[in-house]
Amino acid sequence: MARTDNMVHNPIIAAKTWRAFQVKILRREFGATGMLNSGRVIGLALFIAAALCPFYLSEFKVGLIGLGLTYGLFAVGLDLAWGRTGIISIGQAVFFGLGTYGVAVALVRHGTALVGGVIGVALAAILGAFTAAVGLRRVTNPSTMAVLTLAITLLAEKVARDWWSVTGGSSGLYVPPLTSTYSYYYTCFVATNCVVVLLWFFVLRRPLGNRLTAIRLNDRRAEHLGIPIFRERVVAFTLSAVISAIAGCLSAPWMSSVSPDRVGIVLSTQVLVWVAVGGRATLLGPFVGAVALTYGQDALASSMGNSYLLMLGVLFILSVLLVPNGIAGVFRTGPQLADTTPKGAAESHSPRPPDTGEVLTAAAIVKRFAGNTALDGADLRVEACEIVCLIGPNGAGKTTLLNILSGAIGCDAGTVTLRGERIDTAPPHRRVAAGLARTFQIPSLFPGLTVAEHLILARQEAGMAVPLPDAYARLERDYSGRRVEMLSLSDRRSLEIAMALCSQPAVLLLDEPAAGLARHEADALAKTLRTLRDQVGCAIVCVEHDMEIVRDLADRVICLHRGRVISEGTMDQVSANAEVRRAYLGLA
């Protein structure tokens, strides 16, 4: 406490702290060795070229670059939704146009441009949040968002054409010409950079940025790590609408007239092309795409006319087919995630108080899939630190039960209680917060991320960085820089368990942890899991087909058949049960 006071009141120490902070930021952004990757070198060169362009380009060309910059910011907005989070928006121009019209209406009516701009941005935020809230729910089809955004842009263009009194109809609003191109260019340049810097430091390099990447790469894994995917998607889409609207505000003075095509489908198309060609999930790509194509359009459109747009369409298809990562994607070498591992939290965070008694109870669970009853009143009780194995013939409902416990699917009837808390209607991320973690039958990881990045995500979501048990620390030690595609199946399974352990769960759900493992790996698994249970102090519910492992692993075995529990007890008791034998032999 005393140290903090010192820092605030003593200017020398304050300056030193600020210096240390700067060094820390530089280290973090450019790597400990100060090495720059090729993408950053090019980015810096382009930044300088853009900053100095009034000194070597004609006034007209400077205006073009200025417009290109605002389009670039618009594309950055789209990229936040599309490139980073994986939300499709084919009507992004609506948000841009709201900003543009906001400023234009204010200018035409001799009001303050700032007020008009703020109103435009606010409307964009509201519309963005509304669209996302309707179209991005867990149960909604992915096509819904595409249709909604398309419909909005078509509709907005018509409204802009029809609403004469405000928008001036088809001919649009005439914006007073700029007094000085150069000074407005620098206003634009600075404003654009401010937005990008804020985005970088307050979204992309924060846990939120990592979450968005996680959602894009594998939304199911993301929500079972504890990420509230619906909320974060809505946040991302709203932010993307806001950034696009700010770009729209900045662009208004560059245009002689603001007409309905500013909210329409052609501009929505163009921004998709800019991002696709420039490079998704990068900061430089959208700017490169937007400036290059805006500049190119002016140079070529007069000579080529419609064929320019035709060429743009072909370019777009080719870039989707051949260079899915765009121009900037060729250069980028940096990591995809920011290191957000909570620091020093391991000591300060007291371990979870040990549970006693029943930690997980599922009662009378019923689940039907279109008339086919998968679970028909199944019950399950798990004591603290107990290892329960679920067995049963194929189609017995084991994985369905696991999915209902973890919240991947809802149940038609019945209750699930975790440590005294009803969770049967809670989405998966709440259940994770309440102390549940799971793995999948086919390991579900984030394609393209390294082992270290997976653990960064898991620890970020857990809010603490507890050391992993020995059997799993190996992964972090030996393979931390390796992408998960390069891992063996057993290592991928281990990584999934390691991620689950980061949240110190009270109950760990495992879906066939031994499937596909070699014999010696499978043999080691039972021992590893029992040790793990003793070290971490969590209960384990495990679906498993391999009876050898079940015998070694389980404290208690539950046999499911046709969606009901038919036998429960030790392995020997269950295997001696006549009904179980009938179920397995198919005589029932």
């Binding site: 078509l154 989707v320 899915p324």
Partner: protein, 290 residues
Amino acid sequence: MSGSVQILLDFIWVSAGLALVAFSLGLILGELKIVNIAQGDLMMVGAYSMYALRGLPFLVALLVTFVIGLLLGFVLERGVLRWVYDKGFMATLLATWGVGIVLEQGVATIFTVSQKGIDQPLKGFVTVGGVAYPEYRIVVVLGIVVLLAILLFLVYRSSLGLRLRASIDNVEMASMLGISPQRVFAMVFSLATALAVLAGALIAPTIAINPTLGLSFLAPAFFAVLISKQGSLAGPVAGAVAVEFIFTLLQAYLNITVAESILFGLLALFIVLKPQGISWSWKPAREKAS
């Protein structure tokens, strides 16, 4: 009285055209899991094909246009879509988006952007309930109804349709049973493209033809698909009628842009309430095991 008959006839006319487009859109979404944004532009291609072939007898031109549609669909599926199936939903959507741009601009380059028109092959009027209604529209509506009836019959009652529905339900499983997904995909996309082209061709004599004409059909057609359960083939047809019914009602009292805004609002509300769409009660009879 005659006013409401007029509205009713117009409603039937627009729903028939939309139903055909929505059916083809639903076919592509169901089988290929692709949101085909180029569908409106395919209609536009149909209209321009009729314009280019205006020297030929109408039915011949229609047939040639249908064949052009089949070929176009085949080329697009083989040339573009096939390469992006494994890149996910977003890539396929963007690919069709690109195809749409290319079609629109290609047509604009060949035919210029100025509006075109073609003559209606049937110039007479039929008096229905005191309203003289163009003979052509009535014939086209009947034609589309028959065509959709045949298509739905084939889908739900023929072995080809059974294969198609099996493939929509589960591509991997169907391919295990010897239904080649490549062939079904190519076939479905060609057929769906040809149907959209045909819809455009049939509407062509009644509208002003321009390169962006498809856009106005795109949103309602998607609404129709969205409110029906994904994978259902009869659903989009019923959805098209429902969407046009609501839209006709709204339009009878309101300005068209206001009507469209309300329609959009209703759609948003619908998605919140029924995110998976309605399963229309038109259920196929149980297949005989064979």
